[in-house]
């Protein structure tokens, strides 16, 4: 093993703990799904009810640990970029193995999914008989393989990094010259990129005006990738004030006053509630209108923050990059 850095060890250890808990929750969920009987007064049912609390607590623990751990993970990649020749930030380290990119995507997806699960759980707890119990635990059974896949990719990634192979830095990774999906988006004409970005935001606003949860969920679901890609393609260059520096990671560094953390926090907050509101409405949760508003606020703050950079740049210099 070539990368025995303390940070990697810490991440792997926490992965181990999370895996233990997630598996425990999986086994208990399996039993709940198979044996749950709302009307029964048997000791088994009673035990299952108690175990349902354990599962929910464990999932909450996983989610609330995964949130900051995600940031620590990026930080770790940033550190590793110091020992990988060629890498300047986490982007280079991510592409050091073929698993890096899928790992990242899965990590983000899992954050949303665990969060949505918790939201559904909260709503369900609001009913006297917890009518969604079986569905909820069934959903977790489906979520678990994704979690395992994430952990597996993470192991493959960390153990697969070869510190002697030169990797690319973000400058070349996200440049228009490269032939990857990301680069394809970067090289899209600007009106298309920005049109879809602001268009989807407009759709989300409209969904709020018309109080339409499904529309909000769809708009926000699409908004996540479009926001990230347009950040890479357009907005990030204005944060760096360099026309060819396209990178979603350098934003997180001290040089740019850690503004990336704020951006991603807004984006997550807004899109998460934007999707959760559909679930809330479907489950008959009365507070869904509030969630729709949360989503609007989060989305708006994100859009305002990223738009600030090009506008400020233009006002200051009188030209676009």
């Amino acid at each position: 093993m070539t990368l025995l850095s303390p940070e990697v060890i810490a991440v792997l250890m926490l992965d181990g703990i999370l895996f233990f808990f997630a598996s425990l929750a999986f086994l208990l969920s399996l039993r709940i799904v198979l044996r749950w009987d709302e009307r029964a007064t048997t000791p088994l049912q009673y035990t299952l009810q108690k175990q349902a609390y354990l599962v929910a607590t464990v999932i909450a623990f996983i989610f609330y640990l995964k949130l900051p751990l995600f940031l620590f993970f990026i930080y770790t990649l940033d550190l590793l970029s110091n020992i990988l020749p060629g890498a300047m930030c986490a982007a280079g380290v991510t592409t050091a193995t073929v698993y890096g990119m899928p790992l990242f995507g899965l990590k983000i997806a899992n954050l949303y999914l665990f969060g949505l699960w918790l939201a559904a759980h909260r709503i369900d707890m609001g009913y006297p008989t917890m009518p969604y119990t079986r569905v909820k635990f069934l959903a977790y059974l489906l979520l678990f393989p994704l979690f395992v896949a994430e952990e597996a990719l993470e192991l493959l990634h960390f153990f697969g990094i070869n510190p002697h192979v030169i990797v690319s830095c973000c400058g070349t990774l996200f440049s228009a010259a490269k032939s990857s999906a990301v680069s394809a988006f970067v090289s899209l004409p600007l009106p298309v990129t920005l049109g879809s970005f602001y268009g989807l935001f407009g759709l989300a606003v409209w969904a709020w005006r018309k109080q339409r949860p499904l529309l909000s969920a769809l708009a926000n679901l699409l908004f996540v990738p479009v926001a990230i890609l347009s950040l890479i393609a357009f907005f990030s260059t204005y944060v760096y004030e360099m026309p060819h520096h396209h990178c979603p990671f350098c934003l997180l560094q001290a040089d740019y006053r850690f503004v990336g953390y704020l951006m991603y926090a807004f984006l997550f907050f807004g899109t998460f509630f934007g999707m959760a509101v559909w679930l809330a409405k479907r489950m008959g949760y009365e507070g869904w209108r509030k969630w729709l508003l949360f989503s609007l606020i989060g989305d708006f703050l994100y859009v305002a923050l990223v738009s600030y950079y090009p506008i400020a740049f233009y006002l200051k210099n009188g030209v676009w990059l």
Binding site: R39, T41, P43, Y46, Q49, K50, Y53, M125, P128, T129
Partner: protein, 231 residues
């Protein structure tokens, strides 16, 4: 002597079997049915082991019946999830336990406010509510005394104050005078009268003859071996 008006507590064909299917199977209650109207005082009597405590705990949704149903204010509380059962106890039930069950290391005030802590109340509201019941039951002067230093009578008054602090419509008391001398038992009786006057529904499980054939009692239910006598 069923009163007119809303049924506060309905016990419908309730049975409770412990350790079902095992050698130590024990039927604590068998097909018990009755209803208690709002504002009524019901005495639940019977010898030790007849199922009184079990019945109270079913009404309080601390346990679930094996068969049958408990309905309180038209809600099927015996089918509630644990969380809803807890919420129901917090909002609707004041419980006076047999051994008072105060937390010995907490002060009188802290004991009294424990039922309110999970609610979103500020310090002021907590103090105000506690003060009210502490004055009613003449225990305010001991507010900061740890419960372990209290005399029997003070413990009793603290326990009653705690049961009433969330202003519940239903009071359940399990052998409230079992550990008290005659004077204190009489004092308790007068508190019961006070509660009834306030319109509370009161159910007292006891085998203390002091409670038998009282004028203020609306109804007496006698249990023997888990069955209602004369049913």
């Amino acid at each position: 002597m069923q009163k007119e008006g809303l049924n506060m507590v309905e016990v419908k064909g309730v049975s409770k079997v412990f350790n079902a299917g095992r050698p130590n199977e024990m039927t604590a209650l068998e097909d018990v049915s009755f209803a208690v109207g709002e504002g009524e005082l019901v005495i639940l009597k019977g010898p030790s082991g007849s199922g009184k405590s079990t019945l109270l705990s079913l009404i309080a949704a601390l346990q679930k019946p094996t068969r049958g149903e408990v309905v309180v204010a038209n809600e099927p509380v015996s089918r509630f999830s644990e969380d809803f059962a807890a919420l129901y106890r917090r909002r609707k039930i004041g419980f006076v336990f047999q051994k008072f069950n105060l937390i010995p290391s907490l002060s009188v005030y802290e004991n009294i406010i424990t039922p309110l802590l999970p609610e979103k109340l500020d310090e002021e509201a907590l103090k105000e509510r506690a003060q009210r019941v502490m004055e009613t039951f003449a225990i305010a002067h001991k507010a900061n005394e740890p419960a372990r230093n209290l005399s029997g009578g003070e413990q009793q008054r603290t326990a009653i104050a705690r049961a009433l602090v969330n202003d519940p419509p239903i009071i359940l008391a399990d052998e409230p005078t079992a550990n008290l001398d005659a004077d204190l038992s009489h004092a308790f009786l007068s508190y019961v009268g006070q509660m009834k006057e306030e319109g509370k529904t009161v159910i007292i499980a006891t085998h203390d003859p002091l409670f038998f054939d009282l004028a203020i009692t609306d109804r007496e239910i006698a249990l023997r071996n888990g069955k209602m006598e004369g049913a």
